[in-house]
Symmetry: C2
Subunit: 349 residues, 2 copies
């Protein structure tokens, strides 16, 4: 598997995902501002990968600080995390990673700043290592839901390119393939930024998986023709009641799957859950540049000049349309509010 | 209004719709082969406009025939109409126009070939003139379904560019605007060929209508947010039971509208109805070039080389999801089989 994000040569090494599938180009990011723009421009994207980018980003932002005073250090750390958190608002994992890094600093506040810096770097590395394990566990659980001979519909990219190296929804698909199951994957191209055609088709093909690309508006007719056995999507933020924000178009697929009586699964690590939000209504939805819709790759115009655009990057699928949520801690089924609390937070009923 | 297709300078004059919205370029088509390719390449498209193109195309194909013998003329006419009918399979109007032109020849078989040629040309002109009246009537009936202040979702292009000069579904919208109603139109970009962003956004803007462009996968979230009051789409072929084939993505919108309890209308002339087909299952669906999905405008690659694609140009919306069908003979509501027979064919119950 390719490595989407890692620490190498004193820098964050990422695949520039805006260049795929035409070029596999790596970037070495050495400063915070470049990282912020890489997240904003989606050179790195995918909720779990954004968690890793945020964690490593904090280290980039604090590693050269000269202060030896914890209070000053803390102010700087706060300013760095605030800055990173403005890059993109929806993916929970980004905020989860920032909180985790900050709590390392607080827990070790009596240690020398140099040590705290090391511990922060170590925590970021831990997030990377954990992501690999978490994705494989999601794969193991998710695979159980895939029967031999299945045709699966997916959207956006939830594979190696959205995580450190394996994937969430695509993790289940990779695992099914590893277990010798014969599967066929229909990939929604995922306008406007085409993560389906550019990224998912690219990595599935690389991994020898039978892949068929469709435009987003073809999913309904595939289901009508009986060509889809199940839908698996990822998530960017999941509320305490199971409502799930994911790439725009996911809610569309959930409605279609419900109408055609096809199982609809969400696959995501527990770091995607936001237990502070009671329902999906509270999830902040990023509105992006209209040029993503009116131009291809911000260059070629495909709409009349001055066309008004509505461009939400995500939508929210209500929990009642979700058959199950696949996490590294197991498969969660309805009733979600109760089962999320019980399974993920270890809280009694 | 712009003229999408007309007879001028001894040629078929059309707008080259593959060049919009960047260029408003006219083509003068003087031979049958060029016409065939113009239809196939969708330089001219839209079911009613294809009817006109087919009718004028027959005239192009037979005007220079030297024979004075009806039997020889008829063989050539048959070969011309067969050739045109292979350009695209789904739009009923194309076949309807060919049949209409052929029956003119048969009815006048005892007249001189020169006269028959003139009558064929006159019939093609009649189809043009009728299309203008039919669209305005569809507009008058359709407008009644649009309340002041409505937000309307539409797909593909069903306006002036899909007809001679006014439109079917967009005809209803133009009429609502003419009657002073305040309306807002959300336009699905309509992948893969982007008729929504390239053509509909262009002509709505030109006519001063408040237009917002979305990618196809955003329709669901708009409905969830309560932003859509009704959906109007066109049709390429309607079966005797009301099942309607239209641009890929239409069935998706019909399922979404049903789920969100939003009215879903089809607007089409009676020439779109195929009374020989009992249901939508019998409608031939055109599969098009995979490059439409993997490349933008057949040039810029947006998917890995060699990606497999499923690319049906149309889907079929079952009649049970259609709130009403707007025709030039009035608004048809369920039960469709009975009401189509009664209203459009004048057959008793």
């Amino acid at each position: 598997m390719i490595k989407t994000i890692e620490w190498k040569n004193n820098a964050i090494k990422i695949i520039d995902q805006t260049k795929l599938p035409l070029k596999l180009k790596y970037l070495y990011i050495k400063d915070l501002r470049t990282l912020w723009h890489a997240i904003r421009r989606m050179q790195i994207r995918g909720a779990p990968a954004l968690g890793v980018a945020a964690a490593l980003g904090v280290y980039l932002g604090i590693r050269d600080l000269r202060t030896k005073n914890f209070s000053d250090f803390c102010k700087e750390l706060d300013s760095v995390t605030r800055y990173i958190s403005t890059a993109r608002p929806t993916a929970r994992n980004l905020f989860w990673a920032l909180e985790r890094i900050c709590s390392i600093a607080v827990t070790n506040r009596y240690k020398p700043i140099k040590t705290i810096k090391k511990l922060i770097f170590r925590e970021a590395q831990k997030i990377i290592d954990e992501d690999k394990i978490v994705c494989r566990k999601i794969g193991v659980f998710g695979e159980k839901l895939i029967k031999n001979g299945s045709s699966i519909l997916t959207i956006c990219n939830t594979g190696a390119l959205a995580t450190v190296d394996y994937g969430t929804a695509l993790g289940a698909i990779y695992r099914a393939k590893e277990r010798g199951k014969k599967i066929k994957i229909y990939v929604c191209e995922t306008r406007p930024l085409l993560q389906g055609s550019r990224l998912t088709a690219w990595e599935l093909k690389k991994n020898g998986i039978d892949t068929i690309l469709i435009t987003d508006n073809m999913a309904a007719t595939l289901m009508q023709e009986g060509k889809i056995d199940l839908v698996i999507a990822g998530a960017d933020r999941i509320a305490a009641n199971g409502d799930s924000a994911n790439k725009i178009g996911t809610y569309n697929l959930a409605v279609l799957a419900t109408y055609h009586k096809i199982p609809f699964y969400i696959a995501a690590p527990t770091s995607t859950f936001d237990f502070n939000l009671r329902s999906g209504r509270d999830i902040p939805i990023e509105q992006r540049n209209p040029k993503e819709v009116t131009h291809l790759f911000f260059k070629q115009s495909i709409a009349p000049a001055g066309t008004k655009v509505y461009n939400p990057a995500f939508d929210v699928t209500p929990h009642k349309l979700i058959t199950a949520i696949i996490t590294e801690k197991g498969i969660i089924t309805p009733p979600y509010e109760r089962n999320i609390r019980f399974r993920l937070r270890g809280k009694g009923l």
